[in-house]
């Protein structure tokens, strides 16, 4: 069963769980690594009709050479944060709502006395009349005179003024 998982893994056909098991076994057991090498060799032998290079085995030689090499360590890649699963995914939203609620409560508490003072006179304001009466225009004195003579001017109200200006101008130039 262990090697059947390994065989599927070599073919890229193992699922995540089996793949993780195989990786652990490869890291810990030399016999599993040897079986893995053997499976790769069989594949190369079947794909290569002339079977060139099948006898090559550089692994031990290269691993010996790497003994003196410092272990390579790549900087950890920055992993994109994904949305949290389950009930945890509501925590950011709940925190935001709670923050807004606290801010609203504080602002209402601070403004509450001022609003009450402003609201009191509003409460006793006189009710607006539902049926307003028409406004009566009071006319008397000079206004009555102007109204009465408005009709005697020529055309628009500006006409009387223009006539006055012309008369005064004629007198000053001696035309009359």
């Amino acid at each position: 069963m262990k090697n059947e998982r390994l065989s599927a893994w070599v073919d890229g056909e193992a699922d995540e769980q089996d793949g993780a098991s195989v990786m652990r076994e490869l890291a810990g057991e030399a016999s599993v690594r040897q079986d893995c090498e053997l499976f790769w060799l069989i594949g190369d032998a079947l794909r290569s009709p002339q079977q060139t290079g099948l006898g090559v085995d550089l692994t031990a030689r290269i691993m010996d050479a790497l003994e003196s090499e410092p272990t390579v360590l790549a900087p950890r890649r920055q992993v994109l944060r994904t949305a949290p699963a389950g009930k945890d995914r509501w925590l950011p939203a709940a925190a935001a709502v709670a923050g807004v609620a606290v801010a609203a409560w504080m602002s209402f508490s601070l403004l509450a006395p001022a609003r009450q003072e402003v609201a009191r006179p509003m409460a006793v304001a006189a009710p607006v009349a539902n049926d307003p009466k028409p406004v009566q225009l009071v006319v008397g004195g000079e206004q009555a005179y102007y109204m009465a003579h408005q009709a005697s001017t020529i055309g628009a109200p500006i006409g009387g003024v223009a006539q006055y200006i012309r008369t005064v101008g004629d007198e000053q130039t001696g035309m009359r």
């Binding site: 599927a8 490869l26 079977q51 550089l58 090499e69």
Partner: protein, 199 residues
């Protein structure tokens, strides 16, 4: 989990300090790399030296490998550059890019263009491995042989093989494994490695 994902997992293990994971990448790609370099360098001993140097360069450069390309494409590019530099240092002409391209490396699988320039010992072992694999294949029951041929030579997925052989995927997985085990059984005595030589 695809083949490329497997390589990426191994690369990430190396990047976290696991040297054995690099050994697996060497095991997987050494033959392909050697075949590629054989197109550029005639002497098999030199090919192996250059292949080793390429793998060590790849190991040193792995912290910067981000997986934008497949690991083998990246490795082959290092291999080709290492071979060119080697030939220049020896005062020999390096092949032009049209003669050897890392991207074409997969097409070298057939080995048709390769020179048979191995040492006698290496040739003998290569021949023995080939004959053993062929003999084991001939001895396999028909359904196991078909399953492994469809996988290893035709490159079909388990799903496709299940459709072609009209059987569940689990059966395909089992048949391919049993085929490999039968072939491996015959190869093990030939490749038996002394415990102190294991990595």
């Amino acid at each position: 989990m695809s083949d490329r994902e497997i390589d990426q997992q191994l690369v990430e293990r190396v990047q976290r300090g696991d040297k054995q994971a690099f050994g697996l990448l060497v095991s997987k790609y050494q033959r392909k790399l050697v075949r590629l370099l054989s197109r550029m360098i005639r002497d098999p001993a030199e090919v192996e030296d250059v292949a080793q140097e390429a793998f060590i360069k790849a190991y040193r450069a792995l912290p910067n490998f981000r997986g934008e390309s497949a690991f083998y494409t990246w490795l082959y590019r290092i291999g080709v550059n290492t071979a060119k530099n080697y030939l220049v240092s020896q005062g020999r002409r390096a092949p032009t890019s049209t003669e050897v391209e890392a991207e074409d490396a997969e097409q070298y699988e057939s080995g048709e263009l390769l020179r048979d320039n191995d040492t006698p010992e290496r040739l003998m072992q290569t021949r023995q491995i080939g004959e053993t694999v062929n003999a084991a294949m001939q001895a396999l029951p028909e359904e196991l042989r078909t399953a492994i041929v469809l996988r290893e030579i035709e490159g079909l997925s388990y799903d496709e093989i299940a459709s072609m052989m009209d059987c569940p995927i689990g059966t395909v997985r089992s048949r391919i494994f049993r085929a490999r085990e039968a072939i491996a059984e015959r190869l093990r005595p030939m490749l038996d490695v002394a415990p102190d030589k294991r990595w």
